[in-house]
């Protein structure tokens, strides 16, 4: 029982940091660049993706023995597209303001390669419990990454966070940050930071193992 719990926890935690879909695997770049111009948009996009990822992973894992290999990708896409359209309707009905902000990008969750990637690489090969833990970890990791990028871009490009102004009237917003180049810049620096962390960890490990006893 303990072993099962620890493997579930492992699958959950890996998506948050060590295998973070955006910062480490560099997946799902389209929404990560396009709608991460404010913290609220990032949060909404991350949550919508989390919802789709969770339920599509659930179905893919449950049906993994039934779906023939030859048509599996097509079937996964049908499953994913169904949940995406569902999210689209639900957002329009429940939070029209956010739906207005995200616009066409909700529909584009279908082609977020992170979701199809998790379905193919994990959910199709693992039992329900692990697939759900993996989907939650990856979903939260994706939301966290989008929120980091979104917060930085909103603070620098608009002088606010979650639409709350942070600086006085003297602040001149760095407009480029809320435009597409700002997305590439921010993401580039964050990838640089994550790679530096990873290399430092490797160096430390190497140094540790080579120290004479």
């Amino acid at each position: 029982m303990k072993e099962k719990e620890s493997s579930m926890a492992q699958e959950f935690v890996k998506g948050l940091w060590k295998e973070n879909p955006v910062f480490v695997m560099v997946l799902g770049m389209c929404p990560a660049l396009a709608v991460s111009n404010t913290a609220i948009n990032s949060l909404a996009m991350g949550s919508a993706t989390l919802f789709v990822l969770f339920f599509s992973s659930m179905l893919v894992s449950l049906l993994r023995k039934i779906i023939p290999q030859q048509v599996r990708i097509t079937t996964y896409i049908v499953i994913i597209a169904t949940f995406v359209t569902l999210v689209d309707f639900l957002l329009a009905a429940l939070v029209p303001e956010i739906h207005k902000e995200l616009g066409a990008f909700i529909a584009l969750i279908v082609v977020n390669c992170m979701i199809l990637g998790r379905a193919e690489a994990f959910a199709a090969k693992n039992p329900l419990r692990l697939a759900l833990a993996d989907a939650l970890g990856m979903g939260f990791g994706f939301t966290f990454a989008l929120l980091c990028v979104g917060a930085i871009r909103e603070i620098l490009g608009n002088g606010s966070l979650f639409t709350i102004p942070l600086f006085g009237a003297g602040f001149e917003p760095w407009v480029v940050m809320i435009l597409p180049p700002g997305g590439f810049l921010t993401l580039g620096f964050m990838l640089l930071f994550f790679n530096w962390l990873e290399q430092r960890r490797k160096r430390q490990l190497a140094a540790l193992s080579s120290t004479p006893h």
Partner: protein
Amino acid sequence: MKEQADMGNAPESSNSEPGSAKLILTLGLAGFFSGIVLVGAYFITLPIIQQNKAAAQERAIYKVLPGCSGFETYIQEAGKLKKAAAVTAGSKVPAVFVGYNQEQHLVGIAIPAQEIGFQDVIVGLIGYDPVKKTIIGFEVLESKETPGLGDKIFKDADFRNNFTALEAPGIVVVKKGEKTKPNEVEAITGATISSKAVVRLLNNGLDQWLPAIEASLPDIPNQSKQQ
């Protein structure tokens, strides 16, 4: 239970090819269930979505007509305005909304209009005072303009100030800070396309309705009984 027994097994890679019938059946079933879920979700959310849109439109009517405390719906018929029952949500018949203040005096007419913007259609509501022949308010109902730039057409206070007393029709765009005449709109720096689209929306929306409004202005009751 079955899940636990299967734990850790990769999906069996069967050596025998499944027949086409099985493949077609799988995809057919996937499409069928997906269709049922989507149609269900569509019909469940449609009334809520339409309600949201109607509520947003009503809020916008009160915003574009300052001092308005009630309105009546009019449609265009044979070049004149004709009073209609309140337009139900989802109706495709173009209609304008004649607003009255608490003393039941005409404050203006809210005219819906749309125009292609930078990425997609911009839907807006124009508040027009037919007596003074000026635009007294403007709200964007739907737009997919670039966040941070084009969306300033409804977020930028300076741009919105263009529409508090704008002489119409015949509105023209000028650069920011160059407004000299009452029929000029100062564009947003960096969002000229969206700014021009809004001005086209205003001009075209007014063109469609002004002849009918002017022809029926004497007939529009200045006293409203209902509201």
